[in-house]
């Protein structure tokens, strides 16, 4: 236990020494401050502790929409965009050099010559680096949790699910950086590999989403698209999904099956936060439609929910974890077998 504690403490010290970490933490603090500054009144909402008033007929003080807005701002904006892209990229840039630096001659020798197994060293170091993501997420979760409780009276402990979830999302990309770092001992290669891989996964996510929209969503909401003329038509009449559509979608989905579902795992937070308890089944409601005062209802809400849940939580998490396990096992094997 002392050995694990030592490596984790060292990871925290490394974290403290990285300027990028403090930049991420500062921006996260600012985002939290902005979030906490949002309030509601009878005519709408205010930002900056009342400095800027925004009128909205739906999102008003005491309404379920106000509660929903506060929740969605966290689950669909802060989580999906700040943590899901920017903070993730900054954490990756800050941490991708950890393994190559550790493996440099003179540094690895000291660690490997101590009475702890290489596997324990590797895994603990890997887990320690995940603090890069966990600390800012935890900070924002605390700010948002308190703000939500004080502002709208909703004490959502589920928000803290963002910490393990975003650590997991970060680890899905970081494991590729680790493998590259172990193989080539180069920080630049590790970063490039992770970024290229992340982009590839994102493209796959977009392709799958597009295929689902074309072959499933559009028939369900009665929309047709003419690709030759570039026009869409809304008939409002639900159509059956064609066999060809099913086959094409299955092909696209199968192509992305071995890859981790990085974006989908990020978006999972909205599904994991229990909306039913306070607000009814509004999992399919988006922030924009809510602000417009026109949240989907009836069949539209049903379709919206079906779209969000086209892949089960288990499938997204387990298939991604499987990928991570394979990549990490490969990296650990090389790390443990290598001569330094």
């Amino acid at each position: 236990m002392i050995q694990i504690y030592t490596i984790l403490v060292d990871s925290l010290r490394l974290l403290k020494a990285k300027k990028l970490f403090w930049i991420v933490l500062s921006i996260t603090g600012m985002v939290g401050f902005l979030y906490a500054s949002i309030g509601f009144n009878e005519t709408g909402m205010s930002v900056g502790f009342g400095l800027q008033k925004i009128e909205n007929p739906v999102v008003v003080e005491g309404s379920d929409f106000a509660k929903m807005f506060y929740l969605l701002l966290f689950t669909s904006f802060i989580n999906d965009w700040w943590f899901g892209f920017l903070a993730l990229a900054l954490a990756l840039i800050a941490s991708c050099s950890v393994v190559p630096e550790m493996m440099k001659e003179g540094s690895i020798d000291v660690m490997v010559s101590k009475p702890l197994s290489r596997l324990k060293l590797f895994v603990t170091k890997y887990v320690g680096v995940l603090f890069f993501m966990a600390v800012p997420v935890l900070l924002l979760c605390v700010i948002c949790f308190l703000s939500m409780g004080i502002r709208v009276g909703v004490w959502k402990w589920d928000l803290f699910l963002a910490v393990p979830l975003l650590m997991f999302v970060f680890s899905l990309i970081y494991c590729v950086a680790v493998l590259a770092g172990v193989l080539w001992k180069s920080s630049l290669f590790a970063l490039l590999s992770a970024m290229v891989f992340w982009s590839m996964c994102y493209v796959m996510h977009l392709a799958e989403s597009l295929a689902y929209s074309s072959y499933y969503l559009m028939p369900k909401v009665g929309m047709t698209m003419d690709l030759t003329r570039g026009t869409t038509e809304m008939t409002g009449e639900e159509r059956e999904v064609t066999e060809e559509g099913r086959r094409n979608y299955r092909l696209v989905r199968a192509a992305g099956a071995p890859l981790p579902k990085i974006r989908k795992a990020t978006l999972l937070l909205k599904r994991l936060v229990d909306f039913d308890e306070e607000l009814g089944p509004m999992a399919g409601v988006g922030l924009i439609s809510l602000m417009a005062g026109d949240p989907p209802q009836g069949r539209d809400l049903e379709v919206s929910n079906e779209t969000e849940e086209r892949m089960s939580t288990g499938y997204i998490l387990w298939s991604s974890a499987g990928f991570e396990l394979v990549v990490l096992s490969g990296a650990a094997f090389v790390f443990c077998r290598r001569d330094y």
Partner: protein, 317 residues
């Protein structure tokens, strides 16, 4: 021979590319001794130490260290190691480096704190221990490296080029430290190019070249086996002295005749011959071989970095 700290045999390391870095090394090191491993660059010194400290996997290795097979991880808790070109993270202070090294050995921070203070005192870094490493000179980092190698109170300490980048006062301190370790019945295994320094401290040495041990034994015995008498004379030597000098296998340097001999009585005929030719002898000195002379005599023309030729038709590591 007393109790052995290290007893290895047939240690081989063949790297991919069929470069044979070590070719069946056998070595015994007694407890409580300072053992020097010498050799030109690329001879395999660091490879051997790295095998003993599990950093490199041997192709073949038999034997024990502190009574346990080589590669036995828990035994590493009883050894200390300072690698060549040791690097520690710049964000740590000297004291934190020691805490980190101790923690990896399973020593709690509380226990480490006391030991750390002693070691900082020992390596002369007490005033600097809480400052970050990035403010240290190379020599100071090396002192911290030595301290971290001792943090677990080791029975064997492997020091790979411990005086690299250290000033003369620091070198003396490290030498005194090695003497102290020997006094505490610890074994010190030191690799260094600075033969003059090793000569001052080592009890035993092994000379490694091209992956094989060329000579090993007690340093005093090795150097003492080969002595010479340096006869200092005034003026010129008569031309007819040459055949006599050849007979006695002598060589000449400016104002000196150097005769290889173990005992003084062996050079008496030569002295008589010189005197009979009217040569004025102004001095006579008996001198053992220096470690450097011994080393150069053993290593000969082995070029630095010239490892053994690649293997043909043998299996990879």
């Amino acid at each position: 021979m007393g109790e052995l700290a290290l007893d290895i045999s047939k240690v081989r390391k063949v790297y991919s590319g069929k470069v044979e870095a070590l070719r069946g090394i056998s070595l015994q090191v007694e407890k409580g001794r300072v053992f020097g491993l010498l050799g030109p660059n690329g001879a395999g010194k660091s490879t051997l130490v790295k095998i003993l400290t599990t950093i490199i996997r041997p192709t073949h290795c038999e034997g024990e260290m502190l009574g346990k097979p080589i590669g036995h991880k828990p035994t590493l808790g009883r050894i200390g190691y300072l690698p060549e070109h040791a690097r520690f993270p710049d964000y740590l202070s000297g004291a934190q480096v020691l805490e980190f090294a101790a923690g990896l050995c399973g020593i709690s921070p509380r226990k480490c704190a006391q030991r750390s203070a002693e070691l900082m005192e020992l390596v002369g870094m007490t005033d600097w221990q809480h400052k970050p490493l990035k403010t240290y000179s190379k020599g100071m980092k090396q002192r911290i490296g030595v301290a971290q190698a001792l943090v677990n109170d080791p029975e064997i300490v492997f020091l790979d080029e411990p005086t690299d980048g250290v000033d003369p006062a620091g070198r003396r301190d490290i030498r005194l430290l090695m003497e102290r370790l020997r006094g505490e019945n610890r074994t010190v295994f030191v690799n260094s190019h600075l033969l003059g320094e090793l000569e001052l401290i080592c009890d035993d040495v092994a000379i490694l070249s091209q992956g094989a041990i060329k000579m090993e034994g007690n340093l005093k015995e090795l150097t003492g086996k080969q002595t010479e008498f340096r006869i200092k004379y005034e003026g010129e030597l008569p031309a007819d002295m040459e055949p006599i000098l050849k007979t006695h296998r002598c060589r000449r340097e400016a104002g000196l005749v150097i005769a290889p001999a173990l005992l003084a009585k062996e050079v008496m005929p030569l002295l008589d011959a010189l005197r009979s030719k009217g040569v004025v002898i102004s001095g006579l000195e008996r001198r053992s071989l220096t470690l450097e002379e011994l080393f150069l005599g053993v290593v000969g023309d082995d070029r630095p970095g010239a490892g053994p030729p690649p293997l043909k038709g043998r299996s990879k590591a």
